[in-house]
């Protein structure tokens, strides 16, 4: 389903395709018309996508059809072997992970997984993990550390699940423990926000040596909708809230919350998942190379120093 602001672009694309087909079927030379319309399409694309508002990026970050963690595991990596269970209570399908190869090199991958249709969304609880999900993530981190494999985490969640069972089983505790586990990991960790970075549930698996973000992904302490309810007592003010929260890739780069931004195909990653996956691979290889020379101690120190400097404060006399 197309987003409102994407519609003019998609309409024009459809018309061009129709005209092309008409020309072919009827033996009419449409070259001039097509060229003109293609130019217009380019212009329209630039107008639409070069200056997206923060709210539009939130919509793109959540759009149905945007590549998910499992899509990247399949396209960016090879030989993905999924592992299940938290070894304590159960299996949480909102967090996926296992072993994979990145250009032949063994890695452990962990990611939040939204559903790609309604049925899968229900199975995966819309990518909102319970405590079991975070315990599963930690168990995979242990595995990576034991076998000295780098860890890649892909972040895409509205947040940790706010429910009775989740609270009963210690949602806050498991998020805290997962953050804590990541602070002392002896292997390189790269975290990438691929879609929606929703608060504590996102951070729980995002304490990387490097934190990257896709061009149209967002990362925030609270969703624009919840922020709107608190600040303006009206969920309809979500657009205003998105602007206020400064949650886009460009904003976060400015605050040093992310180290670099991964470009997306024009119009968003959902328009060309293969290209998005290639861009991710390139970014991961580059970052991994920069971390390879670091010793175990240096890796922990670098990660610690990276987070130590985050925040906006002024010293008082």
């Amino acid at each position: 389903m197309a987003l409102e602001f994407e519609k003019p672009v998609i309409e024009l694309e459809t018309r061009i395709a129709e005209l092309e087909l008409y020309g072919k079927e009827n033996g009419v030379d449409m070259t001039d018309e097509l060229e003109l319309m293609s130019k217009r399409l380019e212009r329209l694309r630039s107008e639409t996508f070069d200056a997206l508002s923060r709210w539009q990026r939130v919509q793109l970050a959540r759009v149905a059809g945007r590549p998910t963690a499992l899509d990247y595991f399949a396209k960016t990596f090879t030989h993905y072997r999924e592992l299940h269970g938290d070894r304590a209570i159960g299996e949480d399908a909102a967090i996926v992970g296992g072993l994979a190869r990145l250009e032949g090199r063994g890695v452990v991958v962990i990611g939040q997984q939204k559903g790609r249709d309604t049925k899968e969304n229900i199975q995966r609880n819309f990518g909102m993990a319970h405590p079991e999900g975070f315990r599963k993530a930690m168990r995979l981190m242990d595995l990576a550390e034991k076998f000295e494999l780098p860890i890649i985490t892909l972040i895409d969640t509205p947040g940790a699940y706010p429910g009775i069972a989740a609270e009963e089983r210690g949602q806050a505790w498991l998020i805290a423990q997962s953050i804590q586990r990541m602070t002392r990991l002896k292997v390189p960790v790269i975290s990438v926000v691929i879609g929606e970075g929703g608060s504590g549930g996102a951070l729980a698996i995002a304490v990387g040596n490097k934190v990257l973000i896709f061009e149209n992904a967002v990362y925030s302490v609270i969703s624009p909708e919840s922020c709107a309810v608190i600040a303006w007592k009206d969920v309809k003010e979500a657009e205003k809230a998105a602007e206020a929260l400064k949650l886009t890739a460009r904003d976060l780069l400015q605050f040093d919350i992310v180290d670099s931004v991964i470009p997306e195909p024009k119009g968003g990653a959902h328009n060309d998942a293969n290209m998005a996956a290639e861009n991710l691979k390139k970014a991961l290889l580059e970052q991994l190379q920069s971390l390879e020379s670091l010793s175990t101690l240096e890796l922990i120190q670098q990660r610690s120093a990276r987070f130590r400097k985050l925040g906006a404060i002024e010293e008082l006399a």
């Binding site: 940790a160 699940y161 706010p162 429910g163 009775i164 989740a166 609270e167 009963e168 089983r169 210690g170 949602q171 806050a172 505790w173 998020i175 805290a176 423990q177 953050i179 804590q180 990541m182 602070t183 002392r184 970075g197 608060s199 504590g200 951070l203 729980a204 304490v207 990362y219 925030s220 302490v221 609270i222 919840s226 922020c227 608190i230 600040a231 303006w232 205003k240 809230a241 206020a244 929260l245 400064k246 949650l247 904003d251 976060l252 605050f255 919350i257 990660r303 610690s304 987070f307 130590r308 985050l310 925040g311 906006a312 404060i313 002024e314 010293e315 008082l316």
Partner: protein
């Protein structure tokens, strides 16, 4: 006389008539008992009739958990900056300014060196009166620095938590404080210095889901609300009523999430016992704090906030 002047004259007179006499009695919101304020103060604001825990002001908390005169403030040196240029119904700097006027503090943290029964500690107390104890960059920085002092000087850290969570007005910068503080606590742990958290009402969101939950020992005050998600959010998500006592410390103890629910009046001795045991020092008997009795806060300030 104009109407405006009429009101001007009446205003101050009205105020005078009520509040210049000290409130001698309070009504316990839990059992309804009339409590003599002096008695309530001496009991660390625990109801003498039903043991309901009223909210305890930060300075009282510090008195209650340290040897008299030992507390040396190390916090208060940083202030949050409005990096997001956040404005909703009010700009963030204006909000901060108002909160500063109300509390006399630059941020929601009070931390400092102290002793407890002679044991060297670093005490960190969050202030719910300051923006609901919410955690922004300044709060994260204060906690981190306080823990760093403890790591360098080999002090045990006692952290009294209360917070609505990460502060919305600082966006993802607030969120990052969860990780920043955790890194500092890991360094403290590497020095084999104990980290004990006391969870008070309420402790939720990003604070519950980071440093508050990773104490070597976790103590909960009776009846305190502690959890990741707020109750309204959960209710809206699941569309049903929440069970009785949900997310209260007694519930958390039952579910294995905290070590104990303990009456505030017993925290001193318990903390001393835990710290001395964990650092293998001789046991100490901690004398009860002489509680200084001050006039109660203005009406509606501290009472009856717990729903």
């Amino acid at each position: 006389m104009t109407l405006a002047r009429f009101f001007q004259r009446r205003g101050p007179k009205r105020e005078q008539s009520n509040d210049d006499l000290p409130d001698l009695w309070s009504k316990c919101p839990n059992c309804g008992a009339q409590i003599y304020n002096k008695e309530l103060e001496q009991a660390l604001r625990v109801c003498p009739k039903c043991a309901y825990h009223h909210r305890l002001p930060v300075k009282k908390r510090i008195e209650a958990l340290t040897d008299a005169g030992s507390f040396e403030l190390t916090s208060g040196k940083v202030r949050s900056v409005d990096a997001l240029k956040f404005t909703d119904t009010e700009s963030y700097p204006s909000r901060l300014e108002r909160t500063k006027k109300k509390t006399g503090r630059e941020n929601a943290i009070m931390a400092g060196r102290a002793t407890l029964g002679g044991l060297r500690i670093q005490l960190i107390v969050m202030d719910f009166e300051y923006s609901g104890g919410s955690m922004g960059s300044a709060e994260g920085e204060e906690i981190t620095r306080a823990v760093e002092i403890a790591t360098n000087e080999k002090r045990a850290v006692v952290l009294v938590a209360t917070s609505g969570g990460a502060r919305m007005q600082e966006g993802a910068l607030s969120l990052m404080q969860m990780a920043k503080t955790t890194f500092a606590l890991e360094e403290l742990g590497a020095e084999k210095m104990p980290y004990i958290t006391v969870l008070t009402d309420p402790t939720t969101g990003g604070v519950a889901a980071s440093f508050a939950a990773i104490g070597d020992v976790i103590i909960g005050e009776p009846g305190a609300l502690v959890g990741f998600a707020g109750q309204r959010v959960i209710q809206q998500t699941i569309k049903q009523n929440l069970p009785e006592g949900f997310q209260r410390t007694e519930f958390l103890e039952e579910h294995g999430m905290i070590d104990m629910v303990l009456d505030r009046r017993e925290h001193r001795q318990m903390l001393a016992d835990l710290i001395s045991a964990l650092t293998n020092q001789p046991t100490v008997e901690v004398k009860a704090t002489p509680v200084e009795v001050t006039p109660p806060p203005a009406k509606g300030g501290l009472f009856g906030r717990r729903g």
